[in-house]
């Protein structure tokens, strides 16, 4: 096992972690602020990937296509929030789980109805192709670095939004005590819509960036959704710090685990453990700290 391989895997783990973070931070925000479980979150990632593929077919100016894709997802998310999600805030978790599950099923089939079953082509912008030299004799694809960088920037942007702006302050206050800020005159409904759209856009960002890397296909967001939810639970619901740390831990654990477990436990058990490692971690965390690492006691 060479240093080059370890370094490359570390970068891969970091990249996976940041993509999961984009999904997880939206989910944890939605739950922290609105007490909303959203199983349609994976569909937002999928829509991001489809929209960028569609937008890239209209215009070859990448920033334009990027902006168009983001706007389209935001529009869909807003529509979903206003029509389907709003009534659910008051309802129990069962209703939320089921309704968003239904939305996710419908959207998964919906993209097939519009774009067909075959995977759609999305290519990375030409100025992001190629590899960069990181360390001696070790090349890493530039595009993957870009993904990590963009995801980190988005995370930083979110942090700045939440800690340095009035809106962010209200959002954080809403997460603590929703009734109070309503009483203080803040338009809670609009704020909830805003939070939902932000979280959807973050997920879509992941999809926009992943699209050229993997296949743009129906249901592509669902495995990442499950991973993101595991991260949310590990990190503690409502905690951004928890989401970040848990995402990075999960990303690195998953990447290195796939190398290590089969070597440690033999192929049969090793593969099972490697696949299930995130869930095993989740179970361990819950057993020790039922509210996650940084979460407050669950509602």
């Amino acid at each position: 096992m060479s240093a080059g391989l370890l370094l490359e895997q570390a970068f891969n783990g970091l990249q996976l972690g940041m993509i999961v973070f984009l999904m997880a931070v939206g989910a944890t925000l939605a739950f922290g602020v609105m007490n909303l479980i959203n199983l349609a979150h994976g569909s937002m990632l999928m829509l991001g990937a489809y929209f960028i593929a569609a937008a890239a077919a209209w215009t070859s100016v990448f920033p334009l296509a990027f902006a168009a894709a983001v706007l389209m997802v935001a529009a869909v998310a807003l529509a979903v929030e206003l029509v389907i999600i709003k009534p659910l805030y008051r309802r129990g978790h069962l209703d939320q789980v089921l309704a968003t599950f239904g939305v996710s099923i419908a959207l998964n089939e919906g993209v097939i109805m519009i774009w067909g079953r075959e995977a759609v082509y999305a290519s990375p912008p030409s100025w992001l192709e190629g590899a960069v030299s990181i360390g001696p004799g070790f090349q890493y694809p530039l595009y993957r670095l870009a993904i990590t960088a963009v995801a980190s920037a988005a995370g930083l942007g979110l942090w700045l939004l939440l800690t340095r702006t009035r809106l962010g302050m209200r959002i954080r206050a809403g997460a603590e005590k929703g009734e109070m800020i309503g009483a203080l005159g803040v338009n809670v409904g609009a704020m909830f819509s805003g939070v939902f759209v932000i979280s959807a856009v973050l997920a879509a960002l992941g999809g926009i960036m992943l699209g050229p890397l993997i296949a743009v296909q129906s249901g592509m967001g669902d495995p990442l959704l499950i991973l993101a939810l595991a991260v949310v639970v590990i990190g503690g619901v409502g905690s951004l710090k928890g989401a970040l740390l848990a995402s990075l831990a999960v990303g690195l654990l998953d990447t290195f685990g796939r190398m290590a477990w089969p070597a440690l436990c033999g192929e049969l058990i090793g593969n099972i453990v490697a696949n299930a490692s995130v869930y095993i971690l989740m179970a361990l965390v819950i057993a020790v700290r039922p509210a996650g690492l940084f979460g407050v006691a669950a509602r």
Binding site: L94, A99, I105, A106, A283, I286
Partner: protein
């Protein structure tokens, strides 16, 4: 606000007309039971299998309703126990065991064991955490099944031999399977009623409604919930044995999180916390799936739409529509 009835739901006195609602419900259920019992006699294997499928999923949905409706515990990993039942029915014949009298209790025991262990950890969490920890455990069990290459891994394997009831009766025969599953369903409905009426059942329901008050009087919800979780797991595993015999195939797909989601769909389609509701929900779901997929290959889209509409527009599921009573827990 009066709590949902801790007694059997349809024994609660309705508000208008003495027993009219109850009579209506009884009439509907009786008609359905009669239809279910009559269909296998028509000699149409396809419809007999359809009835068997409805009964199997009804048992699974019923077991989930114990958790979701009565316990207020939304489990998104219930299919794991279904799958455990399926695999038990598939693996025991490899050891030469084919009798139902061994296989069914073995499946129930396996389900109960796994349920007890995973429940003990899961029930430490609540709310969102509980939902996801149940999902996590189900995924773990799924990956274990998928990783067992000697049993076909993700592809699974054909059921080596049908489960034998005794003598000439084999669950591989659709009529026998249908009647057996209907019989088990009735037994489990009765068992569910007894549980709801029992002391620990009442504790669990009280914990669902107001855990704080329960603790204030010195009772912990944990033991009752764990017992409920274990029983529900065992019941679902028994349904799995039926399923293995129905499709004559054993695969990890029977324990996927999508399958768990479908079970939840059935519970809510029928109304939670009613026991009989999920039975109606399961039958309706199976029927819906058949009808929709014969109309369009994009039937999943319409299924999703129906699910969303049911949650948003209807305040009650099928059971509630018939009796006018809402199930508990707002579902």
């Amino acid at each position: 606000m009066p709590a949902p009835s801790l007694r059997e739901p349809d024994d609660a006195p309705p508000e208008d007309g003495p027993g009219s609602r109850r009579r209506l419900l009884r009439a509907v259920l009786f008609a359905l039971l009669l239809a279910a019992l009559a269909v296998p006699l028509l000699g149409q294997p396809y419809y007999t299998k359809l009835v068997a499928r409805m009964a199997i999923f009804a048992i699974a949905a019923l077991s989930l309703d114990l958790l979701v409706g009565y316990g207020g515990l939304v489990s998104f990993g219930h299919a794991a126990f279904f799958g455990i039942g399926v695999y038990t029915a598939g693996l025991l014949p490899m050891l030469g065991i084919r009798q139902a009298v061994v296989i069914v209790p073995a499946a129930a025991l396996a389900g109960a064991l796994v349920g007890c262990v995973t429940g003990a950890v899961s029930l430490r969490a609540s709310g969102l955490y509980f939902i996801f920890i149940t999902l996590a455990f189900a995924e773990m069990i799924f990956y274990i099944a998928q990783g067992l290459r000697m049993f076909g891994g993700d592809d699974g394997f054909r059921l080596p031999a049908a489960t034998l009831l005794g003598g000439e009766l084999s669950l591989g025969h659709p009529v026998v399977l249908a009647y057996t599953m209907i019989g088990l369903l009735l037994v489990f409905i009765y068992a569910g009623r007894r549980i709801a009426a029992s002391r620990f059942g009442q504790v669990v329901v009280a914990a669902r409604d107001d855990e704080g008050k329960l603790r204030a009087i010195g009772l912990s919800p944990f033991p009752g919930r764990l017992l409920l979780y274990t029983i529900a797991s065992a019941m679902c595993a028994v349904a799995g044995v039926g399923f293995a015999n129905l499709v004559e195939y054993v695969s990890p797909a029977s324990m996927s999180w999508i399958q768990s989601g479908e079970f939840l769909f059935m519970v809510i389609l029928g109304s939670a916390a009613t026991l009989v509701g999920p039975v109606l929900g399961a039958a309706a779901y199976v029927g819906l799936e058949q009808v929709l997929s014969s109309w369009t290959e994009h039937w999943m889209f319409w299924l999703g739409v129906i699910l969303v509409l049911r949650v948003l527009l209807l305040r009650q599921g099928l059971y509630g529509l018939i009796t006018g009573r809402r199930g508990a827990g707002g579902a």
